[in-house]
């Protein structure tokens, strides 16, 4: 086996996986807090990428400021969506909640398509592209920056949940809404905040994908569906699981792309995560870190 090829695939997988981890974290935050399954997570990512692109290329705003403005916008978007669409459905049937997020994803996709069309739009280069040599293999600097950004964001999120008052209130809401309510926590506000945070981390994923790929198009929204195997592997209610699961699925995807695709003639890379999803559901349905509290039928 060619070691360089192996390492190359591994690093690619790590980078893609770290973005999966981000989006999955958003997904898990929403699921933990509101027990809603957000199938529009990929659209949050796409919207974030397009907003950042707009700020960078149309308004010539420096990258770091553009990121912050994108975050602010995404947070607003997430909170508004929670208030207008998800809140009326609290307590309704699971099918309704899943379907409403699917409807939401249709709307967001359509709006982006109306505004930007379906062509791939080049994303301005924000990280230096010259590769650096790590051991035997050249690694694009963009990859390293991406991993760095994800690490920083995850660290911020972790300390937010661990130390800040809001973060603790959110954890309390996740563990028991009634107790949280009786302690004077506004559960409604926590719901809105979790949607806002989920939109923020997804938009970061979109921005990073844009810089790595060098261009963005509508296919970004498929990331939202890629996240499902990740969260199932990691456990639906575990942020740690989302991160570990994201990395594993990213690596798995790249390995099956590198080793199995040549044998079957392409396509294995896309389908491998879903085969993994089915297998995990059969053998370990609560995932690696999830609470073992699945209601069996």
């Amino acid at each position: 086996m060619d070691v360089t090829f192996f390492l190359q695939l591994f690093i690619n997988g790590l980078v893609v996986g770290s973005i999966y981890a981000l989006v999955a974290t958003g997904f898990v935050i929403i699921y933990k807090a509101t027990s809603a399954l957000n199938l529009a997570q990929g659209e949050f990512l796409m919207v974030g990428a397009y907003i950042c692109l707009n700020l960078l290329s149309k308004h010539q705003i420096p990258f770091w400021q553009a990121i912050l403005i994108t975050f602010a916008f995404s947070a607003l978007l997430g909170a508004i969506i929670e208030r207008l669409i998800l809140r009326p459905l609290i307590g309704s049937h699971l099918i309704s909640v899943i379907m409403v997020t699917l409807g939401l994803s249709s709307i967001l996709k359509a709006l982006i398509q109306l505004a930007y069309g379906t062509d791939t739009i080049p994303f301005p280069e924000v990280f230096p592209s010259a590769p650096v040599q790590i051991g035997p293999i050249p690694v694009s600097q963009g990859y390293l920056y991406a991993i760095g950004c994800v690490t920083i964001l995850v660290a911020i999120l972790t300390s937010f949940f661990k130390y800040s008052k809001t973060g603790m209130a959110m954890r309390a809401t996740a563990s028991s809404q009634q107790v949280a309510l009786s302690m004077g926590i506004s559960v409604k506000k926590m719901f809105a905040i979790s949607w806002a945070i989920a939109a923020i981390v997804s938009s970061m994923g979109g921005i990073l994908l844009g810089t790595i790929r060098g261009g963005i198009d509508m296919s970004l929204s498929f990331m939202g569906l890629k996240v499902l195997p990740v969260v199932i592997l990691g456990g639906l209610d575990s942020i740690l699981g989302a991160i570990v699961g994201g990395l594993i699925i990213g690596i798995l995807e790249n390995f099956s792309g590198g080793y199995i695709d040549p044998m079957v003639g392409g396509g294995a890379k896309e389908v491998a995560p879903y085969i993994a999803l089915i297998l995990i559901l059969m053998f370990k349905p609560y995932g690696l870190f999830g609470k073992k509290k699945i209601e069996r039928v």
Partner: protein, 347 residues
């Protein structure tokens, strides 16, 4: 004067037609329906045919999701299996359509029951994910299994024939599709007057109580998957005959979402609702197309954005219905009808 719905026997509660006039209206409707091909232009007839197919598929999905409470995002894949098995049986074995359509339904049903197996262990959102994963795996297999499916290039489906009589025009297809659609509606309507259908509803409402009452959950869940997939598979087979060439791109995941939209807008757990939803969602792009072409004088760019407009309106409708009328058009229609029936003394 009537001021409420008072039923004193179970028989009265179970009747399909509440009054004689309802029966007459239905016969009249069927007469009008089957006279449509005589004077409807081809393009319109094509849309009507698509509505007929959508009705079959939507009822199938509603049996599973609306009546049994098992959410499935894998319908496009089931449909593809029906379409490709029908096409394969027709091309490889020269099987006439009156055998290949039911057989395609049975193949899809057995696959559906296989996908349904996880539903015995897991529920709700896990099932949604499993069926979505099944969709992508089936898509992959269809692309790869070229000897059967023709791969990316697709499969040309032979024209259905009875003896030497070829069902090759929209009008002839219309008869085929709507005869099957009416059988589908009748079967579904009666299904929920039997033990099996009531078991489905019991599982949806409260699985544990159903089991306590003696409903065999394993059996009826798989049966629900089977019946539902049979419907969807038949709808897929009819799509194959209508489209003539089918490829993996004929059945993207958006098709599954469209069908879910149909049963939500029409009404979950309602046969009539499936019909309303199927009509509405199939007509939606056509209505938008007409609207945009009539506005194209003042907004010429609108025509290019039709696909996006359709998605936008679809998404908004789904959300609006879920928030304001979660029981769909069927229940709204029922309420309006009852309001006027009992006017002015409804209690």
């Amino acid at each position: 004067m009537r001021c409420g719905d008072f039923k004193t026997t179970y028989t009265a509660d179970m009747t399909i037609f509440e009054s004689r006039s309802a029966r007459i209206m239905l016969v009249l409707f069927l007469c009008v329906l089957f006279s449509l091909p005589l004077y409807t232009p081809g393009y319109l007839l094509d849309i009507i045919n698509r509505i007929g197919i959508a009705v079959i598929g939507a009822i199938g999905l509603n049996i599973l999701t609306g009546f049994t409470g098992q959410i499935s995002l894998g319908n496009a894949a089931f449909m593809a299996i029906g379409a490709f098995s029908c096409g394969y049986l027709g091309t490889k074995f020269n099987m006439p359509f009156y055998f290949s359509i039911p057989l395609a339904g049975l193949i899809t049903a057995s696959f559906g029951m296989f996908v349904g197996i996880p539903s015995l262990r897991i529920k709700g959102l896990y099932l949604a994910m499993a069926t979505l994963a099944a969709h992508f795996i089936v898509e992959f297999l269809i692309v790869k299994w070229e000897s059967v499916t023709g791969g990316v290039a697709g499969l040309t489906v032979p024209t259905p024939k009875i003896g030497s009589f070829a069902i090759d025009s929209d009008a002839r297809l219309f008869v085929l599709i709507f005869v099957i659609a009416i059988m589908a509606v009748l079967f579904a309507k009666n299904l929920f007057r039997t033990k099996v259908g009531k078991a489905f509803v019991a599982i949806r409402d409260q699985a544990i109580s159903a089991e306590v009452m003696g409903v065999n959950i394993v059996k009826y869940k798989l049966l629900s998957f089977g019946i539902s997939s049979f419907y969807v598979g038949v709808a897929g087979a009819l799509i194959a005959f209508q489209a003539k060439i089918i490829s993996p791109e004929t059945f993207p995941v958006t098709v599954a979402i469209d069908y879910l939209g149909m049963i939500i807008i029409g009404g979950l757990g309602s046969i009539l609702g499936s019909i309303y939803g199927a009509i509405f969602i199939t007509l939606l792009p056509e209505i938008l197309r007409m609207a945009t072409t009539s506005l194209s004088g003042s907004f010429p760019e609108l025509v290019n954005k039709l696909a996006a407009m359709k998605e936008l309106v679809f998404g908004m409708l789904v959300i609006i219905f879920l928030i304001f009328e979660p029981n769909g058009m069927a229940s709204r229609w029922h309420n309006i009808k009852n309001y006027w029936k009992l006017y002015p003394f409804s209690h």
